[in-house]
């Protein structure tokens, strides 16, 4: 089984003048240093797409500029699930013997490299170009539709969503690299400006600049011993108007495959890192996978279950909602935090000494699911 030998994150936020290539290189350098590996040791490169730097072969562009000559390289696209999907493929590549050390990178100057309107319009293309986008739909609108129906069906409330937002911000306040660190109250979340009701501003992640990278290896390269124990995917639809069963978006299916491979169950997991582009995303994933009963995510947040001292520490870096979202790198930050927690290197955020973690990425509109289970050995 593959090791996540090194991880690296740049600061997330508004970094005027930053470039996608520069952020990729910064994150990659940090991850390689963390793994204790040099350029010549890297024989595989996977990178995510970047909306501000569209290219038909971004991995090769990156490898050339960063000074790598890998035996295996390409870019990947699975929306917000890309990061966990890259980690899954990297572990397949090292498990198969194809590669010894695969560098995976996701970075983008998504905040400063384009206008907010450009970013919103580009992301809205996750929707159907003919039957959804023409209505002036946006990513928040697609998730607003998810939220309204899910709240109606399972009794989740606006208060519950706000409770999740408050927790993510509190976590981010402890992370020096987080985009949004100023705490807000439950009341402020409830009164934040409407974006796509029932979703309000503080239910939505920010658009950030940032970069994240990891090195996944066949053998340990340093003192950390975090292994990929299982992974799984599910892809049941692309467009929200085509999703058939809203209690089965694919999250549970992906998780079941990962748990089966790891020979573990929900009860074996001590740490959670779950995709949270919106508060509703987090609630739906936690509840469909089964970590929390249907409609009870807000209650769990208020009971302190997701805190450092809780029984289910969740997104202690602050998640997409507050650590920030730079695209592919945003979904990789969950994996990085899980690796740091498992290796006992999370500093002020360290939640005990967990040996197992569950990570989940979601692309599109609950369209692509990639689940991964990590274990410290």
């Amino acid at each position: 089984m593959a090791y996540i030998a090194g991880v690296g994150t740049t600061r997330f936020g508004q970094h005027p003048g930053s470039t996608t290539s520069g952020l990729m290189a910064d994150a990659a350098r940090l991850a390689m240093e963390d793994a204790g590996l040099a350029r010549r040791d890297i024989d595989g490169v996977l990178c995510g797409y970047a909306t501000t730097m569209p290219h038909i072969m971004l991995a090769t562009v990156f490898a050339e500029s960063f000074g790598l000559r890998p035996a295996y390289a390409h870019a990947m696209q699975a929306g917000g699930a890309t990061g966990v999907a890259m980690a899954m493929l990297a572990s397949i590549l090292v498990d198969s013997g194809r590669c010894k050390a695969v560098l995976i990178v996701g970075a983008e100057n998504r905040a400063s490299g384009q206008t907010r309107d450009q970013s919103i319009q580009t992301l809205a293309q996750a929707g159907h170009p003919d039957y959804e986008v023409p209505y002036g739909a946006t990513i928040p609108a697609y998730y607003g539709l998810l939220a309204a129906r899910y709240m109606h069906q399972f009794g989740l409330t606006q208060e519950d969503l706000a409770s999740l937002a408050v927790v993510m911000r509190r976590h981010a306040a402890r992370h020096p690299e987080a985009h949004l660190r100023e705490p807000f109250t439950f009341e402020q979340a409830m009164a934040s400006k409407p974006i796509a009701l029932p979703l309000r501003l503080l239910d939505c992640c920010p658009i950030s600049d940032g970069g994240v990278a990891m090195v996944i290896t066949r053998d340990p390269t340093n003192a950390t011993r975090v292994k990929v124990r299982g992974a799984g995917q599910a892809h049941l639809h692309q467009h929200i108007s085509m999703a058939r069963d809203w209690a089965d978006m694919g999250a549970r299916r992906a998780a079941d495959l990962a748990f089966a491979e790891a020979r573990m169950g929900l009860k074996d997991i001590q740490h959670l890192a779950v995709y949270d582009s919106f508060t509703i995303t987090l609630a739906m994933l936690l509840e469909e996978i089964g970590f929390i009963a249907r409609g009870k995510s807000g209650e769990a947040a208020r009971a302190g279950r997701f805190e450092i001292g809780g029984d289910m520490p969740l997104n202690l870096h602050g998640g997409l909602l507050s650590f920030g979202h730079c695209g592919v790198g945003g979904g990789m930050a969950h994996l990085v935090e899980a690796q740091r927690q498992l290796s006992g290197r999370a500093g002020d955020r360290q939640a005990g000494a967990p040996t197992t973690a569950y990570v989940h990425g979601d692309g599109g509109v609950m369209s692509s699911h990639v689940a991964m289970i990590l274990e410290r050995v």
Partner: protein
């Protein structure tokens, strides 16, 4: 109006311009499944004979969101606007505009309004008994 290269989509929006919602229905014996958006083959039985039908335009709200932050300057004048998923009585689901005051489960009927570069279906409460 910036239309798609997809002929089914071109036809859909041309009909919308004229105040109609069209969908595909499978012509295979024992199937007859409605399909939206139309595709070359039936999702249910993989049959390749589909006919275009006009929907009555009545249905039920499955979900609804109210967009306060539109994606572009051109659409800001319309905000806030409702976007809904509507289950049409013919058995298919579609996205469309909707009266922001509607709630899930409401019975609705289609009207047609200008929005951005085209005319779009907009569902309102069905007043008929």
């Amino acid at each position: 109006m910036s239309f798609s290269a997809n002929p089914h989509a071109q036809a859909f929006w041309q009909h919308a311009q004229e105040g109609r919602i069209i969908f595909a229905r499978c012509c295979a014996d024992h199937c007859g499944a409605p399909q939206f958006p139309p595709k070359p083959r039936c999702d249910v039985c993989d049959g390749d004979r589909l006919e275009m039908r006009q929907a009555t335009g009545t249905g039920t709200i499955f979900s609804i969101t109210v967009v306060h932050r539109p994606p572009s300057d051109a659409l800001r004048q319309y905000a806030p606007y409702g976007i809904a998923l509507v289950d049409l009585d013919e058995g298919f689901r579609m996205m469309a505009h909707a009266d922001p005051r509607l709630t899930i489960g409401a019975r609705v009927r289609a009207t047609f309004v200008p929005f951005g570069d085209r005319t779009v279906p907009r569902f309102v409460a069905d007043q008929k008994p």
